[in-house]
C-alpha cells in the first residue's frame, strides 16, 4: 500500500485553548498554536481568497458577523486530509488541509521562518 503522510502532517490531538486560541499536536512532536482570528483571516475557500485579492475598499460596510470575535462552532473532518471550519459568523466553506494548517502555525519557531504563503499543492476546493 502506498505510504501514508509523514508524521509532520499527522495530527494526534486538536483542541480549543481558551477563548481565542486553537492548538494542534502533530505526530512529529510539534505543538502548533493559532489564534482563531488568524485562521479565519486565512480561510482558503474560493470566495475568501477572491475577496483578499481585491483592492481594499475603504467604504466597505461591515457584515454583522464581522463584529464578533471569530471562533469555530464546529470542525468536522474532511476525509483523511483536512478539516472544515464552521465559524460563528456563519461562514463554513473553508477546507483546511493538514498541510495548510501546518503552514499557518503561529508558534514562535514557525513565525520566524514562515512566510505563510498558501502552499501550491494545498487542496482548497469547497
Amino acid at each position: 500500500m502506498a505510504s501514508s503522510e509523514p508524521e509532520s502532517l499527522t495530527p494526534t490531538a486538536l483542541r480549543k485553548d481558551g477563548p481565542d486560541h486553537f492548538v494542534i499536536e502533530w505526530g512529529d512532536g510539534h505543538h502548533s498554536v493559532y489564534t482563531w482570528r488568524h485562521l479565519r483571516a486565512n480561510c482558503p475557500c474560493a470566495s475568501c481568497r477572491e475577496e483578499k485579492e481585491q483592492p481594499a475598499n475603504p467604504l466597505r460596510v461591515l457584515k454583522p458577523g464581522e463584529l464578533l470575535a471569530p471562533t469555530a462552532v464546529s470542525m468536522p473532518r474532511v476525509g483523511r486530509y483536512a478539516y472544515k471550519i464552521a465559524w460563528n459568523d456563519g461562514h463554513d466553506t473553508g477546507i483546511y488541509t493538514l498541510q495548510y494548517l501546518r503552514s499557518l502555525c503561529q508558534c514562535p519557531q514557525c513565525l520566524e521562518k514562515a512566510d505563510h504563503a498558501t502552499p501550491r499543492s494545498a487542496v482548497t476546493e469547497v
Partner: protein, 272 residues
C-alpha cells in the same frame, strides 16, 4: 428513485469490509472492464462483492453485466447478477436518457448509492470511478471510508501522464493507492508471439515513480470486448483464458494487500 439526501460529512459503512475504488485520470483505459472483471474474480475467490458504478454521466456497468432496462419504481436495488450486487445510474435513467446535471447532483447520487442502497454484508464494494480528478473523486475521498484505490492505465505515455495525476490526487487527499494495473498490456497472436501494441512497461514505470506496487498486466483479448457487450464479463465466460487468469491474480494481490496491509488511520476529532 429521487435524488437522495446523503450525509455531507464523513460516514461509516459498517457492513462493508473494504471499499475499493477503481480509477484512472484518463477515460478509455478500461476502468469499467477492469472493475467488473476484478469484482467477478473476487466472487470466484468466495468473496461477497458489490460493484457500484460511479460514472453518473456515462454508466457502462448495466451493459457489461447484461442487466437490461429496469423499472426503477418496481426494482429493488442493488441488482444481483453473476454472483455480485450492482448499482448504477444506468438503472435509473434507462438506456436512452442522459444524466444532465452539475457536480453537486452527481455527489448526491454517488453518496446516495453508497449509503441508501441496501448492500447487505459485503467483503468488497468496488467503485467504478469516472475519469478525472473532480467531483466524484473528491466526494468519495471526503466522505467515504475508502480502503484503497486501484489505478488503471494503458501502457502509452498519453495515458500514463493522466494516470500520474490521478495517483497524485488520491495521495493528496490521503486515500491509499493500492497500486497500478496496466490494461491492454500485450497481445499474444495466433503465431504465439507477443505483440506490444500500445508499447509496454508504462504501468510498471508509473508504479515505480509513484512508489506504489505494480499490480500486474492485463493482456489484450478480443473476447473481452465481446463479453462486455454481451453482458457476461470474460472472467465469468472464459474462466480458463489467460486474461481471466490475470484478473484472478490481480484479485489475489489486492485481497492480500488489504488483508495484510496497514489500514489508513482516520483523523482525530477536534475538541471544541
Amino acid at each position: 428513485m429521487q435524488p437522495p439526501g446523503p450525509p455531507s460529512q464523513k460516514f461509516e459503512l459498517p457492513n462493508i469490509q473494504y471499499l475499493v475504488a477503481v480509477a484512472s485520470g484518463k477515460g478509455g483505459v478500461g476502468k469499467s472492464t477492469v472493475a467488473a472483471n476484478l469484482a467477478l474474480a473476487l466472487v470466484k475467490k468466495g468473496k461477497r462483492v458489490g460493484l457500484m458504478d460511479a460514472d453518473i454521466y456515462g454508466p457502462s456497468i448495466p451493459i457489461m453485466l447484461g442487466i437490461g432496462d429496469v423499472d426503477p419504481q418496481t426494482t429493488t436495488f442493488p441488482i444481483e447478477r453473476h454472483g455480485l450486487k450492482a448499482m448504477s445510474m444506468g438503472f435509473l435513467l434507462g438506456p436512452d436518457k442522459a444524466a444532465v446535471m452539475r457536480g453537486p447532483m452527481v455527489q448526491k447520487y454517488l453518496l446516495g448509492f453508497l449509503t441508501q442502497v441496501d448492500w447487505g454484508q459485503l467483503d468488497y464494494l468496488l467503485v467504478d470511478m469516472p475519469p478525472g480528478t473532480g467531483d466524484a473523486q473528491l466526494a468519495l475521498a471526503q466522505t467515504a471510508p475508502v480502503a484503497g484505490v486501484v489505478v488503471v492505465t494503458t501502457p502509452q505515455d498519453v495515458s500514463l501522464n493522466v494516470a500520474r495525476r490521478g495517483v497524485q490526487m488520491f495521495r493528496q487527499v490521503q486515500v491509499p493507492v493500492l497500486g497500478v494495473v496496466e490494461n491492454m498490456s500485450f497481445f499474444i497472436g495466433e503465431d504465439g508471439k507477443r505483440y506490444e501494441i500500445f508499447r509496454h512497461g508504462g504501468g510498471r514505470k508509473l508504479a515505480e515513480e509513484s512508489d506504489v506496487p505494480f499490480l500486474g498486466e492485463i493482456p489484450i483479448d478480443p473476447r473481452v470486448a465481446e463479453c462486455g457487450d454481451q453482458g457476461e464479463p470474460v472472467v465469468h465466460r472464459y474462466p480458463d483464458s489467460d486474461v481471466a487468469k490475470a484478473y484472478l491474480a490481480l484479485a489475489e494481490t489486492v485481497d492480500q494487500q488489504l488483508r495484510h496491509g496497514t489500514q489508513p488511520k482516520e483523523l482525530p476529532e477536534v475538541q471544541l
